[in-house]
């Protein structure tokens, strides 16, 4: 355990600590961010009178839309000279969610990520290969700083170039691999097809910390068998801090939330009511120590349940189940957040296309496969085959540049796509997560 004092703190003491920190966080947000001031005032919530964790239910939620509307720095609670790092979620410029970090925020982030790697068995003796993307995405640098904080050796290879990844695992003696679970399977596929002499079992690789997209127990088994490692789920979201919000321990049953920095509640996504521990609903986050971008009751849209058990690993931290669903229509495709509305916006830009479309997401091998069916109408139809193919290609390119995902565009006859009463069925997700 990287930080026993906090990770194994007596629950009563932990709650006292949370209350103290929460009081600070609420005042910090209220005093420094006009958005919070307005929203708290409107709800007649006075942070000075906040006296018990239970009072938090009177505080208004922070929706993702509010974060987007505050683009780029509207929710920052410190002057820019205190901000030492910016990260941003994927999405087109107008939709991106931008987050900032002070020196202390980066320190906290490194701390929770060091704990995360340690929970997967990592120590200063380990060599951590960071195959998450480096850049605005929080994955790469998040794991990087955590591994350094732990004292491990970092290989900052970033994502892609599978052959090189495999070579370095072998040559540098990588012991822990950090990437998305689908990329891990992709690596195993690559070895199977193109490198018959490569044997994971002859490398020093022992564990993987996988996150940034939902994955299943069967994927875990597959990765563990094919790579001969222990596969751990890690969870985070850039709005809250990035990876390092919660992680699995040696027990691989539920993810411990780093409660000394993040307060969690589970609510009924319809009514907003806080649900008792153990009930399934939408998980809501409140930062307790974040300076640059405090989040107060941020609605993640992730569906899970939280519970306390006496975990054999010794951590007293509350657990959340692996996230398997969303309370909105957001899709996570190869680690990229995609809203059907974004696809619709791209289609609307292309002259003549009507927003009659359907998105089909499937998993082909290890990777998410996206097909977008677009209905052809008289305005876009042409007698020339080449022009129609060109149209499909143009849509593909626009989707790639605007959303960062590659999708196959299939032109279909009008009225072939299901139109139910009211809400159109825009998404068919066949991935069975």
């Amino acid at each position: 355990m990287f930080n026993k004092q906090y990770e194994a703190m007596e629950v009563k003491k932990l709650k006292e600590l949370q209350l103290e920190r929460l009081k600070w966080s609420l005042k910090h947000a209220y005093n420094n961010v006009p958005y919070y001031r307005q929203s708290f005032d409107k709800a007649k919530f006075n942070p000075d009178k906040f006296s018990s964790l239970d009072d938090l239910k009177h505080v208004p939620f922070l929706m993702k839309q509010a974060m987007r509307d505050s683009y780029p720095f509207g929710l920052f609670a410190v002057p820019m000279e205190k901000v030492i790092r910016i990260h941003s979620s994927s999405g087109t410029t107008g939709n991106a969610t931008v987050v900032g970090y002070t020196k202390n925020d980066i320190e906290v982030w490194a701390e929770v990520m060091a704990r995360t790697i340690a929970a997967a068995g990592g120590t200063e003796k380990d060599i951590v290969q960071v195959a998450y993307g480096y850049g605005l995405f929080t994955g790469g640098l998040g794991v990087h700083y955590g591994a350094e904080k732990l004292g491990a050796t970092v290989i900052p290879i970033s994502g892609g170039n599978t052959e090189r990844q495999l070579m370095l695992i072998k040559d540098f003696g990588t012991t822990i691999l950090a990437c998305t679970p689908s990329y891990a399977i992709n690596m195993a596929d690559f070895v199977e097809k193109k490198m018959p002499d490569y044997d994971f079992k002859k490398t020093k690789l022992k564990a993987g910390i996988f996150g940034a997209e939902p994955w299943t127990e069967s994927m875990r088994k597959e990765i563990e068998t094919r790579m001969g490692i222990d596969a751990y789920d890690i969870y985070g979201l850039s709005e809250v801090i990035g990876p390092g919000v919660s992680c699995e321990c040696s027990q691989k049953s539920g993810l411990h939330v780093f409660e000394d920095h993040f307060y969690v509640e589970v609510i009924d996504p319809e009514t907003g009511e806080v649900l008792p521990e153990g009930e399934k609903g939408e998980i809501v986050y409140t930062s307790l120590t974040k300076e640059a971008c405090p989040v107060i009751r941020y609605r993640s849209r992730d569906i899970t349940r939280i519970y306390r058990d006496s975990c054999k690993c010794g951590r007293t931290l509350i657990k959340m189940e692996k996230v398997t669903g969303r309370s909105d229509d957001m899709l996570i495709i190869r680690g990229v957040n995609v809203f059907p509305m974004q696809i619709e916006a791209v289609l609307m830009e292309i002259e003549g296309t009507e927003p009659h479309y359907q998105i089909i997401v499937d998993r082909k091998g290890a990777l998410d496969d996206v097909e977008i069916m677009v209905e052809v109408n008289e305005r876009i139809f042409t007698d020339e085959l080449g022009a129609l193919k060109g149209l499909a290609e143009r849509i593909e390119q626009r989707i790639r540049s605007a959303l960062g995902i590659s999708a196959k565009i299939t032109l279909v006859e009008p009225s072939t796509l299901q139109r139910s009463e009211g809400k159109a069925k825009r998404v068919i997700d066949k991935r069975q997560l």
Partner: protein, 143 residues
């Protein structure tokens, strides 16, 4: 003089062509010739029918995407080398054929080919100057 061809969008899947043809059959529309250009997912059915306006109407009513396109029907001698000779003329006149197909019925002892040119009027003028017999719509579909 231009002949009206109907171009129809269809998915490249079993049963789809049949659905369209059923609509035409029920209206008593006769298909005089038909050709399909396709890629993996979809195709364009190009056809010449005896009642193009009616066909367009009923196909659209049945939610098919369909559009009229003007093409030229050109009479050629039905003997070796006559198509070649026609093509040589087109290239001499710098007329690009977007696509072409054969008409199923002969006119007397002569064959009829359907040509789609980028600039139909320029093509028509050139062909008439070169002495080709461009078949009139009325002679072809009897409307």
């Amino acid at each position: 003089m231009n002949v009206t061809q109907l171009s129809l969008f269809l998915e490249n899947k079993p049963g789809h062509l049949q659905n369209a043809l059923k609509v035409l059959a029920e209206e008593g529309i006769n298909i005089m010739t038909l050709t399909i250009a396709e890629v993996a997912d979809f195709g364009i059915v190009r056809m010449i029918v005896n009642k193009p306006q009616k066909a367009l109407e009923v196909l659209r009513q049945n939610k098919f995407v369909c559009s009229p396109t003007d093409v030229l029907a050109i009479e050629l001698d039905d003997k070796p080398g006559s198509l070649l000779k026609a093509l040589q003329t087109f290239s001499k006149r710098n007329l690009n054929i977007e696509y072409m197909y054969a008409f199923t019925e002969k006119r007397g002892d002569r064959a009829v080919m359907i040509f789609k040119f980028a600039d139909i009027e320029a093509a028509k003028k050139a062909l008439l100057e070169e002495g080709f017999n461009v078949v009139k719509k009325i002679d072809l579909i009897g409307e």
